[in-house]
Amino acid sequence: MKVLCNREQLREGLAIVNGVIPTKSTRPAIENVCLVATENALELVGTDLEIAIRYRLDDVKVADTGTVLIPARVANEFVRDLSEETVSIDSGGDNCVISSGGDRVELVTIESDEFPVVARFQETHSYPLLAETFNKQIHRTSFAAAREPGRYAMHGILIEIEEGRLRMVATDGRRLAVTSTVIDCPEDAAHRAIVPTKGLQMFSRILSDPMARVRISFEETQFCLKTDNAEIYARLIDGEFPKYSQVVPAEGACKVEADASLLVNKLRLASTVTSADARAVRLVFTEDHIELLARATGRGRATGQMDASYQGSEVDIAFNPDFLIDGLKQCESDRVHLEFNDRTSPGKFQLGQDYTYVVMPITIDT
């Protein structure tokens, strides 16, 4: 294999693919990046067996086609520090030389057939959408997914296509974010996949051009995304995702509208006295007013006050302030809408159009 390519493109490609490649694995072959030179392109392939990525460089001159495995981390660091415009990759026998100007590195390669087979993008169940749209859905939901061990299915984000809409849901069992958007698809198209959060965050990384048209595709064991020069695959989580439709309350008796960033501010202020693992801030709603109260045994108490539009008799509900702040930071308008029924039922926050965030309250048994 012998290829000439642009340094900047190669650097970017290696950096992205390296985001997936594990530094330590029980299968040493996947600690490498797989370079595949075809007639008119160079493809960089990396995988950690959960997520796989193909990144294509078009602006290359291929003298000899071929496939080679080189240590990903070394290649990435070497190319990053090069200064000349073009880089040549030349492999033969059991080594591969990367050179640029007077700088060169000679790497020992390993057999390319030890590298796992990475699938090709299937057009069958694929749907087009704008990069920005998909990216936004990821950001709207991924923060609510579970991070702690246990509850396996909740470590992923549910992606659904139903009735012409793309819906994404994430939950850790105590809060849930759900968002949806119109998607160009046949009316009867229906798909469902639970994609690991980590994988989706990787997806988000390659969506650098917001206006680009991308395609997503649902396959039996993986969810894929294709951009102009990259393809990324995530293996699906096989598990039962909570039924989000039963979780999102229809309409609450108490309706509050408040300034989102001010509320974040007041929540932070009140929660200063709570400790990292016992956090509850009580929100007391009176006519056009919210009082926030927090206290922690052995530490102290804090209160905050703010205006809000609320009509009705005095009610109160307590939440983990971290959960609220996480959601409010995503709020797409200045005003946030909160609805709830009583202090034991979930609070429903409207953070934007087709974007709902549900948080279970903390009840203090006295």
């Binding site: 702690e148 246990g150 939950t171 849930l176 045994t297 979930p346 009840t363 048994d365």
Partner: protein
């Protein structure tokens, strides 16, 4: 004994000769040389002796000689000394209600006399001459004049010479000797103000001066390491009216000194050693949560109370007594003990690890010293004070003077590193007042800021500010420097303790915050288990676990304590069921609550294998510190092991 056929000829029943009666009584009172020693020494004490010398030969089998400087006896007394049920300690039945002397039954001398060759020499203060009387296996001689010092000397030779059956039950000399010593040491601990000297085959084994207080006596008997680690206990029911009501003094040792047997758990009631079930339970309760199962704590506790409130006449060797107000006493004593136990230095000292390491390296063949047993005191009476500064742990406890005054100073050692807040803090939430005063913080700051009365010692004490850097070993242990050494912390054990205490604190304050679950989590259980849970749903809810029966074999969990970071719902519910099942009590019973919280804490804590950042470690340590009781995990495993510079120096053969 006589065969029935023989006796039948003159009638079945007849009175036994007095010698036989005494021998039978002796079977109850005198089992072995140690019993003789006990009876004689107690008599000496009752006679008002201030110095008692005990000479033993062949473990006491050949000779027990007790020489005292007490009031002595006249000729009239000596005539009765070996007569059964003759005593100077009681006169009327009413006297039984307030027994202040050690003996009173009047059986001992007669019993001993019937099974050994005895001689008593005694001189009263105003007599110019001593008198002596002998009893050889029940044959009592006449009182004759003899030469002798003031006080009484009792010699018991050839124990069981006329009852070979009993002699066969005696153990090896060394065993009998150690039992004798055991008795003497126990008595010596109980009687401040009396000096004891023990010799065996003319070799001096043990001695205490009359002037030595309890702590000095413990030091002499069990060694300086134990004595230096003891924490004083002091409790007075009516501090303003001395001598009235219940008074508890003494010392408790850190849990690491615990043993398999109760040989170093001593209760002294009005100067009498006893093994009482109630008192034993007091200690067990006092150490609960600090001691692993099947280990017996080390404690030396003296109880002083009105003799009228206790019946000592229930057991021939007087080891058991009956308290008139046992129930009321129990609560008071447990509280006083717990406070003291929480103040002990619970960390495993690195020294013991270094010791075991050295032992491993040197291999067997090192002379096996009996741990802690000081046989021959080296040099002056207050050795152990001349220890290097580094070994007084963290320099926080003012090193106690070897002799004198130490018993009274309960307030020493309550400042500085050792969790000072513990006492007050625990009481704070144990009292379940639910007030949100924050004793631990207040206490902690107060002690840190204001040096106490013993200012000049305190001023030199280094305070530990939990400063990093910390080293995490195998993602399991945390290492950090502490003033004068370093400590190793078990991260899981410490976090578990923290979570447990916080949950408990929440619970006692009446508010466990419950984080609701969006989707109830379903847990499959056996049908009987579901029924059990169903019965107790409400009570379980007070523990912060909100659950409901969902199906014949399914439980739905709707909420969990907000404090719990990584809920393992299934594990928690099964733990809950098993605990309720095992205890057979409703889940709001005190001990069930504790067990459930333990398990919850264990399930949700940082595990061995979780890597932590420096900030996380600091937060963990300081929050645990704030809490006070951070020395053991709820299952009483220690959370930390400490090494001081002296340990390191020993390990590196620098000294």
């Amino acid at each position: 004994m006589e065969s029935p056929q023989e006796t039948a000829r003159d009638g079945v029943i007849r009175s036994l000769p007095q010698t036989v009666v005494n021998q039978i009584a002796a079977g109850e009172v005198i089992e072995r040389p140690a019993s003789v020693v006990k009876e004689l020494v107690e008599n000496a004490i009752d006679a008002g002796a201030t110095r008692i010398k005990i000479d033993l030969e062949e473990g006491g089998v050949r000779l027990v000689r007790v020489v005292d400087d007490g009031c002595g006896m006249g000729t009239g007394d000596l005539e009765l000394v070996f007569a059964p049920h003759a005593t100077s300690k009681l006169h009327t039945p009413d006297d039984l209600d307030h027994i202040a002397s050690l003996g009173f039954r009047g059986e001992a001398m007669a019993s001993i006399g019937s099974i050994a060759r005895c001689r008593v020499v005694s001189r009263q203060g105003d007599d110019g001459l001593a008198h002596t009387v002998e009893d050889t296996g029940g044959e009592i001689g006449d009182v004759v004049e003899a030469g002798g010092a003031l006080g009484t000397t009792v010699e018991v030779r050839d124990l069981f010479f006329n009852t070979p059956a009993r002699r066969r039950f005696l153990k090896r000399t060394s065993t009998e000797l150690s039992r004798c010593l055991d008795v003497i040491q126990r008595i010596a601990l109980a009687h401040e103000g009396i000096g004891f000297v023990v010799t065996h085959d003319s070799r001096r084994l043990f001695d205490v001066e009359p002037s030595m207080d309890l702590l000095a006596r413990i030091r002499r008997t069990f060694g300086a390491e134990l004595a230096d680690s003891l924490v004083p206990v002091e409790f007075d029911e009516h501090p303003d009216r001395p001598g009235f009501g219940l008074r508890l003094t003494g010392f408790v040792a850190p849990p690491r000194f615990s043993r398999r047997d109760t040989s170093r758990l001593m209760w002294f009631l009005n100067g009498r050693f006893l093994r009482d079930k109630l008192l034993h339970r007091v200690v067990k309760e006092g150490y609960r949560g600090f001691l692993v199962e099947n280990r017996q704590p080390v404690a030396f506790l003296r109880l002083a109370m009105d003799p009228a409130l206790v019946d000592v006449n229930v057991h021939p060797t007087k080891a058991e007594v009956r308290f008139r107000e046992g129930r009321r006493m129990f609560g008071m004593l447990v509280r006083a003990l717990r406070d003291a136990v929480a103040q002990t230095d619970i960390a495993t000292p690195g020294a013991s690890l270094v010791d075991s390491m050295l032992k491993r390296e040197l291999g067997p063949g090192r002379s096996e010293l009996q741990p802690g047993q000081t046989w021959l005191p080296a040099g002056g009476s207050d050795h152990g004070v001349i220890r290097p500064a580094g070994s007084g742990w963290l320099g926080s406890e003012p090193s106690r003077p070897g002799t004198g005054g130490a018993t009274g100073s309960t307030d020493s050692g309550s400042a500085g590193w050792s969790p000072a807040g513990t006492g007050g803090d625990r009481e704070g939430f144990r009292g379940a007042q639910g007030t949100s005063s924050y004793p631990s913080e207040v206490d902690g700051q107060a002690t840190a800021a204001t040096p106490s009365a013993e200012g000049d010692i305190e001023a030199w004490a280094t305070t530990d500010e939990l400063r990093g850097p910390y080293l995490q070993v195998d993602k399991t242990y945390l290492l950090r420097e502490v003033p004068g050494g370093f400590e190793v912390i078990d991260q899981h054990a410490l976090h578990e303790r923290l979570t447990y205490e916080l949950l408990l604190r929440d619970l006692r304050a009446g508010s466990i915050e419950v984080q609701g679950l969006l989707v109830p989590e379903l847990v499959e259980l056996a049908k009987s288990e579901v029924e059990l849970i169903g019965e107790h749903c409400e009570a379980i809810k007070t523990l912060g676990v909100d659950l409901a029966v969902f199906g014949p074999a399914t439980i739905a969990v709707h909420g969990l304590p907000a404090r719990i970071k990584r809920p393992n719902v299934e594990g928690m519910v099964t733990d809950l069921v098993h605990t309720i099942e095992a205890e057979g009590k409703p889940p709001n019973a005190e001990d069930v609550v504790e067990e459930v919280l333990h398990r919850m804490a264990c399930r949700s804590s940082i595990m061995a294998g979780d890597s932590l950042t420096q900030e996380e470690i600091h937060a963990l340590l300081s929050r645990a510190r704030e809490l006070g009781c951070d020395q053991t995990c709820p299952h009483a495993r220690p959370t930390r092991v400490r090494f001081n510079l002296a340990d390191l120096e020993r390990a590196f053969h620098r000294r």
